[in-house]
Symmetry: C2
Amino acid sequence: MTSSGEPAVLSGETAQPAAAGVGAGNGAGGGIAQDLIELDHGTGGGMSRELISELIAPRLGSVHHGRMEDSAVLGIETARIAITTDSFVIDPIFFGGGDIGKLAVCGTVNDLAVSGAVPRFLTLALVLEEGFPIVDLARVLDSVREAAEQAEVSIVAGDTKVVRDGEIDKIFINTAGVGELAPEVELGMARVSEGDAVIVTSYLGNHSIHILSLREGLGFEERIASDCAPLAGLVQAMLDEHPDHVHCIRDITRGGFGTVLNEVADDVGVSIQIAKDRLPIQHETAMAADMLGVDPLYLANEGCLCLFVDGDAAPEILEAVRSHPYGSAAEIVGAVHGRAESPVKMQNGDGTDSVVEVLYGAELPRLC
Amino acid sequence: MTSSGEPAVLSGETAQPAAAGVGAGNGAGGGIAQDLIELDHGTGGGMSRELISELIAPRLGSVHHGRMEDSAVLGIETARIAITTDSFVIDPIFFGGGDIGKLAVCGTVNDLAVSGAVPRFLTLALVLEEGFPIVDLARVLDSVREAAEQAEVSIVAGDTKVVRDGEIDKIFINTAGVGELAPEVELGMARVSEGDAVIVTSYLGNHSIHILSLREGLGFEERIASDCAPLAGLVQAMLDEHPDHVHCIRDITRGGFGTVLNEVADDVGVSIQIAKDRLPIQHETAMAADMLGVDPLYLANEGCLCLFVDGDAAPEILEAVRSHPYGSAAEIVGAVHGRAESPVKMQNGDGTDSVVEVLYGAELPRLC
C-alpha cells in the first residue's frame, strides 16, 4: 500500500513455537479471536490489520523487517542485484521434510543462489481460502520463519488476500526475492562449453516421489522425504573455493534433470552425455518411480542443483560439494561435448545409449 | 529456476495488439496450438516452455527483460531500494478502465511510488486455471505490457503455474516490484505532524463502485470507470517541485480513505480533521454507494493518493498535482491536528462533526 520510510522491525513480539495452543483463540497471550480465516480478514480494515499484527508479524519474528503490506526501503551494498519470483500451489501443503511455507522460502532462495547472488530480501504474498484454519497458517508461517533464518534472508514486504471458500485450495504463496551479486560473479549458460563436467548435488527425484506417494498413499512417503532445502550456503561455499571453475548452476525443479540438460544443450548449442550408473538415485525412489510409471530423470527436486564446471577442476569441486550437508550425495554424472544429433544422451551401462528427450507436458508428473 | 547470467531481452518477437485472431491456434505467425490453458502448460516441460516463449514473452514485448522463470541479474544505480508485493485476485478480471493485468502493474508501481522510489523492475507470477482461454491470457498480457510501458518498468522475472479446473477463479497474478530511491528522499509517517494539510489526488471510490456495479449489473459501471492508473509520474513530478514539503504519501486502496486516515493518526499519534464538502466524490459514485449501502470513505481506489504535506505549501502542491493528468480532481480535504479523543473526524458542513471510525471487516466491500 504505502511506505513508512525506513523499515522497522515490528518490535516486542517474539514468535511462539507452533504448538497445540494455536487456534482456539490462537493460544494464550493475545493473538486473533477466530479459528478460521474469514473473508473479512482480507478487506483491508481492522481485521486485516489484526491478522497481520497479531499473527503474521509475530510468527515471522526476527526475519520480518518493515511493515507487512508496505513497500520497504532497504539499503543495498552492490551495484548488481538478482531478482526472481515463484508461486507455490502444492497439494498437500504439509509433507515430510517441509511444507508450503518452507518450500516458498527455499524455492526462491535457490533461484537467487544459482545466479551466484547472496539472497537478502524476500516478499511474502499469501492468498488464503475462507475457512483455512488459523492453526495451519501459524504452522506455515513458523516454517517460513525457520527457513528464512536458515537462509539468512529477511521478509521485507507482504500481502494477504482472502478468497471465497472453493476459489483456491487452502493457501497459495508467492515469494519474490532480491539478492546481492558480487562484481566478479558471472554464472550462466554463456559460460558452459565443451569439456565441462556435469555434477548433480543430491538424490534425484525425492521431492516428487514423496509428494506423489503421499497423495496416492503408496507408503514410500515414509522412507523418502522431500529434499526441500535452502542451497545458498552450498553455492557460496563453492564460489568461494572455486570462483573461476563453476560456470553455470541450475536448480533442478519442475521438469527435472532431463529438462535442465535439454534446455542447456539447446541454448548453448552443445550436446551432453550422462552415465546412468552415476546418477544419484535412491533405491526406494527408483522403485516408487517405477510403480508410478514416471522417470526419475524428469522428477522435481527442491534441494538439488545441476552444476556445469571446468572438467579438470571437477573432482576437487565434487569434494567441496560433498563436504556440505546438502551436497553429500553429489556425483559427477556427465560431460559437455560438441554439438550432436541428439542434444542429450545417456549411456545405459550395457553398451547402449538412449536419448534423453524433451518431454512435452503430459508425461511429466504434476505436483501442484 | 536458474540464471542465465546477464538479462537478455527476448529478441525479435514484437508484441501483437490484442485482436480477434488470438486463440484458434493463437493467430497467424506461430504462437501456441491450444485455445485453452491445459495442466500440461504448468509441468515445466516443453509445453511450459512454449507457452512462455511463444505467448508470454512476445506479448510482453519490449518491457520484458531476462528469461521468464529465471532469476534476472540487473544493475542498480542507488544504494537504497524499495521492495513491495501484491497479489491480484479480482473478479471480474476485465472491467472498464482496465483489467487484472493493468491492475497488477499499477498496484505494485503505486506501492513503490508512494515510498518516493522510481519503479524499475517487476516480477510477474501467473497462476492459471486449467481451461482459461488463451485469448484472455493474451489480452491480460497486452495490458501488462501497456501499463509497464507507461510506468517505465521492466518485467524481469516470471513464473507460471497451472492449477486444476475449479482450484482458482480463472487467473491470479502476483507482482513484486523493486524501485530505486534517491538519497535525499525521505517519505513516511514519521514526517507527518500537526499543521500538515491532507490532499486527495482523485475521485474517491471509483474503482470499487465500478467493480461492484459491474458485478451486480447496476448500470453505474457505464458511467464510472475504474481509476486504475500508474502514479509514479505524478509522485516524481511532485517530489521534483517540492522535495521538502511532501511528507508522506499513501495509496488509497483496500480499506479506503477512512482506513488510511485512521492508520496514520494512530501510528503518528495525531488527529486528522477532514471536511465532507471538500471530498472529491462524483455524483454517480455517491448515488451508487448509497444504493449499495457502502460509504465512499471506505471504498478502494487504484489511482488515488492521500498526501500529507506542509500546510503552507499545500496550495502550491495542489496546483502541481492538478496539472498532472491523474491529479486533475485533487482537493485539499483536511489537516493534521494534535492528539484528540477521536483520531479522525469529519465536519459534515451543517455544523456537526462525525467520527470516521476504523471499520473492522464486514462493513467493507470485498473486491476480490
